[in-house]
């Protein structure tokens, strides 16, 4: 039988109480489907300083490193199913030959060797919020603090046609084989009509589909292909860097592309290669179908995501969920910042400070910055830039938002773009 969740009023939820402590309900009052965890413990019981992080992407790796850096007494465990990190940001560069695949791949060994983080490469089967256990195939691990950085899943259960399209026309929004497969399609392409679809916001990395469309068109030109792109967007406009992208589609690539806005994908016939939309059917030779996205279903199973919700509700300043000392960062959470690897990285630094501070029983003073900066290519040489920042003054308890867009196309911005990525990777893997 499920128990009722204590209510958290909006004021408490937004501002927390005293410093950054959010009014959270305790794990014992959280509705977890009762199921005994029969496996044995993989580690001794925690001593108040154990931080378990699930998910070794941009958020999880950063959280692991910075909890340890901010409080060397913390015992930090990172659980990630893959043995190698592969970056999703910069994958469009890989698709169009601007970066090697190896540039996107990093091992987890620096975290182990330099930062004394225990990295466990295994699947998480379950998480029991009541008994504070993460369940792996061989047993469970208990936590004092839990940070979940699980990224996204494609939201395709109620639209089965997306399942077929995933196999035939990969979206390339989760790292790894999708990108390798998609790149092969692009390199081998000899047909005429290409379809690229964008789901309604929110989804992972808002400028990425628009960047991919622009890079694809530039690639078509540079390769001398006689191709035409049907760019099907469920949104009325590019949600970020609108002016720069519209200039690309409406002026620069006018003869090579149709940009169809506010257009919903209704069905996909993968055998006949037809996308059916609310504005008509489009036949294609090759497609990259980007389905809608949601937080992983594991979060629903364990009770952090309510039925019908797609993203986990957290305190947008602390990223703490409704369960005390359980934090959700990155794409899975509904936060101030847009969903992106860099946002997850920035949120992880905030959470690391909070968790490290709680272990040491110290409050956070001064400013806490949630920073989002991203770039987007408009062709194979030039890029644009977007910055979003939320500065929280812990003393004044005020949030100051900053937004800057530079929609001009610059080759120098493309160089900054690569340096941007290298900088974050330097931070994550050093």
């Amino acid at each position: 039988m499920q128990r009722k969740v204590s209510s958290v009023n909006r004021r408490q939820f937004l501002l927390g109480s005293g410093g950054l402590a959010v009014a959270s309900v305790s794990a014992s009052s959280f509705p977890v489907v009762a199921k005994p965890v029969s496996k044995s413990s993989l580690m001794p019981s925690p001593k108040g300083n154990r931080v378990v992080i699930v998910g070794g992407g941009w958020g999880g790796i950063t959280a692991a490193k910075y909890v340890k850096k901010d409080n060397p007494n913390a015992e930090v465990i990172l659980i990630e199913k893959n043995h190698m990190f592969i970056s999703c940001p910069m994958s469009n560069h890989f698709l169009f030959g601007l970066l090697d695949y190896e540039s996107l791949c990093y091992p987890y060994n620096t975290l182990r060797v330099k930062h004394d983080v225990k990295v466990i490469n295994d699947r998480v089967l379950d998480i029991d919020l009541r008994s504070k256990k993460v369940v792996l195939p061989e047993g469970f691990i208990e936590w004092d603090y839990l940070i979940l950085s699980l990224g996204i899943e494609y939201d395709i259960d109620d639209k089965p046609f997306y399942k077929d399209s995933l196999e035939f026309f990969p979206p390339g929004f989760t790292p790894g084989s999708e990108h390798l497969y998609l790149k092969r399609f692009i390199e081998e392409f000899e047909g005429k009509d290409i379809v690229l679809t964008v789901p309604k916001m929110p989804y992972r990395c808002p400028p990425a589909p628009y960047e991919r469309a622009a890079m694809l068109l530039s690639y078509i030109r540079s390769e001398g292909l006689k191709a035409h792109l049907y760019f099907i967007d469920a949104n009325p406009n590019p949600p970020v860097l609108k002016d720069g992208f519209l200039e690309a589609y409406k002026d620069f690539y006018k003869s090579e592309a149709d940009y169809l806005t506010s257009t919903q994908v209704k069905d996909i016939d993968v055998a006949k290669k037809v996308v059916k939309t609310d504005k008509g059917d489009i036949k294609f030779d090759f497609a990259s179908i980007i389905p809608p996205m949601r937080a992983p279903k594991l979060l629903e199973r364990i009770g952090l995501l309510k039925r019908g919700q797609k993203w986990v509700k957290v305190n947008p300043l602390t990223f703490e969920s409704e369960v005390k000392n359980v934090f959700v960062i990155g794409d899975s959470a509904s936060t101030y910042l847009p969903k992106s690897g860099y946002a997850a990285h920035s949120e992880a630094k905030v959470v690391a400070k909070i968790v490290a501070g709680r272990i040491a029983n110290r409050k956070i003073k001064g400013r806490i910055i949630q920073h989002g900066i991203c770039y987007a290519m408009v062709n194979l040489k030039a890029a644009m830039m977007l910055e979003i920042e939320f500065i929280y003054d812990a003393n004044l308890k005020k949030v100051k938002p900053v937004k800057r867009e530079d929609n001009t196309w610059k080759v120098s911005t493309a160089k900054r773009y690569y340096e941007w990525a290298k900088g974050v990777w330097r931070d994550m893997f050093n």
Binding site: G366, I369, I373, V402, D406, K415, W420, G423, D427
Partner: protein
């Protein structure tokens, strides 16, 4: 330390800097700050002669390598007297920045390695640079600042490299200068150093440029000062 004592310390340091760099180090270290003494290195022009104050054009970014032969630093003439400042780090620790040196106390020097994610000026590109009052940043509209274009961290060179905006969590470290009988020397650093991280992440690049990491870690004994616009093929401003 109260203002009276603080001013007393600074004025004694200004006098001391005319005489003995060891005195500067002792004065800074006695405050419990993060002053770290390195080799005393003379700043010279490209032709090897000692750099004079009048050679340093106001609001122009110069680069030299200190405290190691591979670690870049900026030299700036802010064209105004810049006084001492108290700096506080996010962990609550504090240190005192002694202000500018030279006849007008307008000369300052900082590590040119961004304290956020270690971008630094290479011979190909400089993503981090100083923005003069005449040429403010087009993105942030700020001038008189050191700004890194990779992630838009902004530092104030007139206030000890304090973070003004962006994701950097602590100031860029100061290269402590000493002005003695018309000559300028670098004598140490103040603030949070990132040199070990720099050596770790750029190992391959440093090996290529200096032959080995060990050679890249040699201490500077004399520092050639060059305009960044002459050092880097492209200064990327934003």
């Amino acid at each position: 330390m109260d203002r009276r004592n603080f001013l007393k310390l600074c004025s004694s340091m200004a006098v001391a800097s005319m005489l003995d760099t060891g005195v500067i180090g002792r004065a800074l270290a006695s405050q419990g700050g993060d002053f770290k003494k390195y080799e005393k290195a003379l700043l010279v022009k490209e032709d090897g002669t000692p750099l004079k104050v009048e050679d340093i054009k106001p609001h122009t970014t110069y680069i030299f390598f200190y405290p190691f032969v591979s670690t870049p630093a900026f030299l700036l003439n802010l064209d105004k007297e810049v006084g001492p400042v108290d700096l506080e780090l996010s962990d609550g620790s504090k240190y005192k920045w002694p202000g500018g040196v030279g006849p007008k106390k307008s000369l300052v020097a900082y590590s040119a390695i961004c304290s956020h994610q270690l971008s630094y000026p290479t011979k190909d590109y400089s993503f981090i640079d100083y923005y003069s009052p005449e040429n403010p940043s087009k993105t942030t509209k700020r001038s008189g600042v050191i700004q890194c274009c990779a992630h838009l961290s902004i530092f104030d060179p007139s206030q000890g490299g304090k973070v003004l905006d962006g994701p950097a969590e602590f100031p860029i470290s100061t290269v402590v200068l000493s002005y003695e009988e018309g000559k300028l020397y670098a004598v140490g650093t103040l603030g949070v150093e990132v040199y070990q991280d720099f050596f770790d992440v750029y190992k391959r690049d440093l090996r290529k440029q200096y032959g080995s990491s060990r050679k890249a870690k040699k201490k500077s004994k004399e520092c050639k000062v060059i305009e960044v616009s002459k050092y880097a093929k492209e200064s990327i401003k934003c």
